[in-house]
Amino acid sequence: MPNTSPEKKRILIDSSVIIAGLLSPSGGSAKVLNACREGGVFCYLSPAIRNEVVRNLPANQPSLKEQFERYASSCQTAEVKDEELNEFVGIVDEKDIHVIIAARNAGADVIVSLNRKHLLDNMRIRNVIHVRIITPKTLIREIAL
């Protein structure tokens, strides 16, 4: 279990939030990234999520990648093994299972995502894992960022 203090939330940030935060510096996602960098919350990323972010950033804006690297250096890593993914087949879209497993392996309190269709509005996930999935806007409201 990672080193954490009880008063800070442990959050796994989905790549959707990181990408939005980098592309739109005045939005709620950017605010969440800043909170991670400043140590207001404990942030976790998985290698797959890092990979997704890098591939989604526009190639003609290398400064975004640099910003992401600075942000990522303040996050801890949550590993996910291939064989662990089988567990949530039929509950979560297969392409999103790695996010759920990463959150569980990190001991995260919440997953922050903008993916309404596959994660935020998936009620079945709540029955199998005690990690809440919320938007950046909700996180900001809850912890008064």
Partner: protein, 87 residues
């Protein structure tokens, strides 16, 4: 007094009828400009969610590529197989 309303397009200061006028030589033509209010969804929606929806198709394709490369056994078993046999 017969009147009729037809749709029109307003562009670059010109009004262009979008249907055939019912009278060949009307005595008078009135123009009504309408501005619809924003829907609740458009005005209240989180801009980050709007941004995400714009990039979502590419984002999903990238997510699939990453799963294929990083979790090849899982991909072969559950995603590639599903594509071949969608039922």
């Amino acid at each position: 007094m017969p009147t009729a309303t037809i749709p029109a397009i307003y562009t670059r200061g010109k009004i262009i009828p979008a249907a055939k006028p019912p009278f060949e030589e009307p005595d008078e033509v009135m123009v009504t400009f309408i501005k619809y209010p924003l829907t609740a969804q458009e005005s209240d929606e989180d801009p980050d969610e709007v941004l995400f929806r714009k990039i979502e198709p590419q984002y999903r394709a990238v997510r699939e590529d990453v799963v294929k490369e990083m979790y090849p056994e899982f991909y072969a078993k559950y995603i590639a197989g599903k594509k071949e046999n969608p039922d």
